[in-house]
Point group: C2
Chain length 162, copies 2
């Protein structure tokens, strides 16, 4: 029983060199207390997938909608749909940056987790930022050009390091 | 910049000896991969506080309501109210147990976090469980007696170790 024995079981990994800064121009943000090497696992976050209907009827009308991620599901008829998921971890705390993105993420729909990794070396004191992609619910102040289409962004976020 | 300099800033602590078991009678649950000594910080979770009105109009009608915690707020007129908060971390993954509770939690309304600590030594392979208190949204199968009133429970969860 010491270690997970089922392939679906999920070892929780979290980089220990992080803190939340409360007062920033973007609100709360996650920062590095030590240099974090490229490819380091930053956080493994379980997710809570919301129903398509409850999302449309309710969640979209609340402040929580700014925090949810697109999440692929297959309905009872075998049709692929895009639902929304609440990320139960630092994935809901990372701010957005197109120019200074230093964290990428990868969904695991089978195990209901998202894994966040350092895209490059992250120096001490730097904020950890992701790209929200097409789920951006505000004007992107630091985008130098139009953001890439969702599929291209997905591929970028799901970059394989090895 | 190496360490938080503002008293409001929050060092993120997470016990590394944890995994999520996907298939249990209660659904997903958090388990210990090593013995965790009493008083160990299990997780420091940022929270997202929902508005009282949006909670009543929307969140209460969704599956998310089973995951939210009571959260004390003071409104613009200085009146104390109980809002709901989404816990962005393992606090949303711990199952409930009255008899086998081994984790306690403490809210920090100023810094918008909840800290979870081991109530006693937690042996390898044991599930980590909290008490949901008055926010229990289902019948408590393992309660030997009526659950304690919310205030008493609050005091228990906010137990001071030292």
């Amino acid at each position: 029983m010491a270690t997970p024995s089922n392939k679906l079981d999920i070892p929780l990994q979290r980089c220990p060199d992080l803190y939340i800064k409360v007062c920033t121009p973007k609100g709360r943000g996650v920062y590095a207390t030590k240099t974090i090497p490229a490819k380091t696992v930053i956080d493994v976050c379980p997710v809570l997938v919301l129903g398509v209907e409850e999302n449309k009827s309710h969640i979209e009308h609340t402040s929580l909608f700014h925090y949810t991620y697109n999440w692929p599901i297959t309905d009872f008829d075998g049709n692929k749909q895009v639902a929304q998921a609440v990320i139960l971890g630092l994935g809901s705390m990372f701010n957005h940056s197109t120019q200074d993105q230093n964290v990428v993420w990868e969904r695991d729909p089978e195990r209901l987790i998202i894994t966040y990794r350092a895209l490059r070396d992250i120096p001490v004191g730097e904020e950890l930022c992701i790209s929200y992609g097409s789920h951006l619910t505000f004007k992107d102040a630091d985008a130098p050009v139009a953001p890439p289409p969702e599929e291209e962004l997905e591929m970028f976020n799901q970059i394989q390091f090895d």
